[in-house]
Amino acid sequence: MATVHSPRPRPLSPHLSIWRWRPNMAVSILHRATGNAMAFGAVLLFTWWLLAAASGPATYASWYRVAHGWLGLIVGIGFTWAMFQHMGSGLRHLVMDTGANYEIHANQRSALLTMAFSVIMTGLVWALVLFA
């Protein structure tokens, strides 16, 4: 049988452990990670914020205390970055849906661009929140 004479184990299938890290695959997994983190994190915080406002000043005050503490700052900056990263890679996906940007170098460049976009936009928004 062919398998007996195999000189060495053949690669099974594309898998995290045999891929070399590249911007395009990093952005692909970041898209999924940020999207699902927001689905169960940012979305709940958003709903909590609205419910707190609708429940009255006392409830809102308890939300406000948490949001304006150091934990709120870290979580806020984290989800702002997650949103802009997901937005950037989402826009890249929309471009790729048209059949464009599949050439390897352009594809790697646009992947890096989404990361630059998310970091710059997060910095910009939080600079405005904290210092404007």
Binding site: V43, A54, V125
Partner: protein, 134 residues
């Protein structure tokens, strides 16, 4: 359809290349539509929040009381939660192997999304119609 006589090949051969048999491209398409509406509505939301002088109770409640704010907020809730529902479904389909577990995961996802969206929309409507307290 037009005569069984013209059909050739096996069942598999005849459906091959015709796309998914269950929901087809609908999920993919809805995901893209809501991605674009999320982009527009979230841009509005972020710019609006940055333009608010403070985020204290009165500022937020007076802000949400306006129809030009409440309506886009309701659209944002609809668009974001629908997009969440579609996106997490893909995660479940990719990682949950067992059919029974998959059904339960989808059930919980639908409950989670619909309940949160209803709560968020109710909060907006309460503030829009109820007004800023006093």
């Amino acid at each position: 359809m037009s005569g069984a006589g013209v059909r050739r090949g096996t069942e598999l051969g005849r459906v091959r290349g015709l796309g998914a048999a269950r929901s087809g491209v609908g999920h993919w398409w809805a995901s893209r539509m809501t991605a674009v509406s999320n982009l527009l509505l979230l841009t509005w939301f972020i710019v609006s929040l940055l333009r608010l002088p403070l985020h204290d109770y009165l500022t937020v409640v007076v802000w949400l009381h306006q129809p030009v704010v409440a309506v886009p907020m309701l659209l944002l809730i609809l668009s974001v939660f629908y997009h969440v529902r579609l996106g997490v479904q893909v995660l479940i389909e990719d990682y949950v192997r067992q059919e029974g577990t998959k059904v339960i995961a989808m059930l919980l996802l639908n409950f989670y999304v619909v309940a949160s969206a209803a709560a968020a929309a109710f909060a907006v409507l309460k503030l829009a119609f109820g007004g800023p307290g006093a």
